[in-house]
Symmetry: C2
Subunit: 411 residues, 2 copies
């Protein structure tokens, strides 16, 4: 029943859909559910001691600055640190190429606000990050889905998509959310060239790049773009690069960054000023204080070791228990893997039975901008303990065995 | 000269104006300028000791929660505390009526996103808060300006404005930014009735309500609306109420809140989820920890005493030095007062000379949505020390004497 308020004023407000992920995250709050649904870091790896020291030091030495309004661009020492960090991967940028955002979600929102008019097209991987679709749906975006395999976006399909005239290409190159796939070096180079040929910018979303558990680091699309054009990429680059402290330090801080040509950063700064003035000064100073002096380099080793073990437990359990009719990705890093059930099975149905057995995942359809993926699922392996991963993956596997048998599917 | 990047891609991005306030805030960073330009709290009143204790306590007892992703609605104990605080002023709300935002600027942005289509009208006071205009300009808003006097918006003009069919009315009832004016009780009641009559919601922006230095607290428009309708205001109210910890604790935390009917909060929650997922968990928990147990009630006494002294010094110096041809408001609280120069003088010109004399303010034209106010100026009295206020107000007064004389204006 509609309330009187809704009756009187609903017509004044924009229409909005509800969020699958949001409803699912509520389930993860039930303590007896083993949830592979969210995308949460392991709380065990939060560097509490370093945070405590950093908070005390910031308040002790720079308290008046930390609690005061700050500049929209972000805390300068933090932006300088990010510039130095980028240089390590040969990407030469100045602080003027960097904007601090309140999480990468905010960067996605601002990019939508800056580039999109209602009905504009965006090229996305299929599947792609749900939060990006949510951010851009708000601006009336339409999507051109380019299929992926285990080496990322299939480039042969990209050129067709670019001819439609999209506003930008959105790519998660490393340990993609949701699929876990990593874009190969060759494809990265091809995408840089194609994007340049068609004059379409690339939004490179890289929250997990540091979380590699095996294999060699691959250069970012941003770096390859600057190498390709052989110009001053700080001004002329074709890539808007996003990363975050959420997976390295803490998502509860909401501190992330955008690296882009200065003209884009200037526009994003104007956007941010109207949207929330600036990211919390205190959080930026604490993130800087915790990260400086090489701590992040040490800390990321602990995260890698922790998540690698969890990924391995999940993969081993799947090998052991899951029916032969199912398949899954073997991500070299990150926080997610991607399960594929036999055609005709619907993970939106499977999840209901899974929740009865106290285990959760995200049905894959939600990650597809233009439909499909009904037989797919995203599994997070960073949050639960290895024991819970073994138990939850086993429960899911047993359920899938029953379902595959019932559907009369044999290998 | 345009960079190659701009040449290639500028047409893809939205057009944006630059910000007067933003450019001015840069001036306040020059250490030798006495700036009445910004809207910064006095750093001397930041409760650093309490923040340190709160950070340690939160990380000690709830570190894993504080550094983790949180719910979009906000930290429940904080929302409960805000509900209890509202009840003190007889406004009965549930946590479901409250959304935590990353500063009130974000709430203004979300309200724009939720309610506005390009070309929609908003009723604003003239002058009004510049940040609100910036937020809503991004959505293509148009404004109906209702003039003010020392008792706030002139209600006789409001009814005409409402007949044009605005999406909402925006009011800062207490110690308005920029004018310092407080809306009288009688007008508050009249506005509630008129808004109800025309079915137009009210956005009540109240960052300064607690900062009263003399006179009696006036009931909020939100409370008067619920009293007027005699129904369950949590569902049926006509007011979206905004407030913040920025002026009571710290703007660098970026923690504020919206109180509204549940249908509105639900939509704002969806908006926030797509925009930045949630406000930093850590900051919400620290704000709660610092505020609980009655500390805020004690702390606000210190803020009031500090700002009252500064306001008094500014007013006394103006009485003493400023030419008789100028006038100004005498705010009962808040952080700003409003100067009016003789007609024909332009504060956008005055500011250039003022900066040469190392003193700054904000020219008043920027606060007028539909032009006018060229002879007005906003002066902040919360940030500078009493000594600096005396010195800066004197410098400005001497300059104004010269200018008034030169223009041949005599009292």
């Amino acid at each position: 029943m509609e309330t009187p308020w809704e009756y009187r004023y609903a017509h004044r407000m924009q229409k909005m859909g509800s969020s699958v992920i949001r409803e699912l995250l509520k389930l993860t709050e039930q303590p007896d559910i083993i949830s592979f649904g969210g995308g949460l870091p392991a709380p065990e790896v939060f560097p509490l001691k370093q945070f405590k020291e950093a908070c005390n030091s910031v308040l002790e030495h720079d308290g008046a600055q930390a609690l005061q309004y700050g500049t929209t661009e972000g805390y300068l020492p933090l932006r300088k640190m990010i510039a130095r960090h980028s240089l390590r991967y040969s990407v030469e940028v100045e602080p003027e190429n960097i904007l601090i955002t309140s999480g990468s979600q905010q960067a996605l929102d601002f990019i939508g606000r800056l580039f999109l008019n209602r009905g504009d097209y965006i090229v996305v991987e299929s599947p792609t990050y749900l939060g990006a679709l949510q951010a851009w749906n708000a601006y009336g975006a339409q999507y051109i889905s380019v299929p992926m395999d285990e080496h990322g976006m299939i480039v042969a399909e990209l050129e067709k998509a670019l001819r439609i005239g999209p506003k930008f290409i959105y790519i998660l190159p490393n340990f993609q959310n949701p699929s876990g796939a990593t874009l190969s070096l060759e494809r990265r180079k091809q995408i840089v060239e194609l994007a340049d040929k068609y004059g379409v910018p690339i939004v490179e979303d890289d929250p997990y790049g540091q979380l590699r558990y095996e294999g060699d680091h691959l250069p970012s699309i941003n770096y390859l773009d600057s190498e390709y054009r052989g110009e001053d990429a700080a001004y002329t680059g074709n890539v808007i690069y996003l990363s975050t402290f959420s997976k390295l330090l803490s998502p509860g801080l909401r501190v992330a960054w955008v690296i882009a040509p200065q003209q884009v950063i200037k526009k994003l700064v104007h956007t941010k000023q109207a949207a929330d003035l600036h990211t919390a000064t205190f959080n930026q100073m604490v993130a800087y204080e915790v990260s400086k002096g090489g701590f992040l380099d040490e800390h990321v080793k602990l995260i890698r070791a922790t998540y690698k073990e969890r990924r391995d437990v999940m993969l081993e359990t799947m090998e052991e228990i899951w029916p032969a009719e199912t398949s899954w990705t073997r991500p070299q890093g990150g926080m997610f893997l991607w399960g594929v059930l036999p055609e005709g099975m619907d993970t939106a149905e499977v999840i209901k039975l899974a929740i009865e057995r106290k285990v959760a995942f995200v049905p894959g359809a939600a990650f597809h901008a233009n439909g499909g993926g009904k037989n797919t699922m995203r599994l997070n392996f960073s949050y639960c303990s290895p024991e819970a991963i073994r138990e939850g993956t086993t429960r899911l596997g047993m359920l899938l065995r029953e379902l595959v048998k019932k559907n009369g599917i044999h290998s």
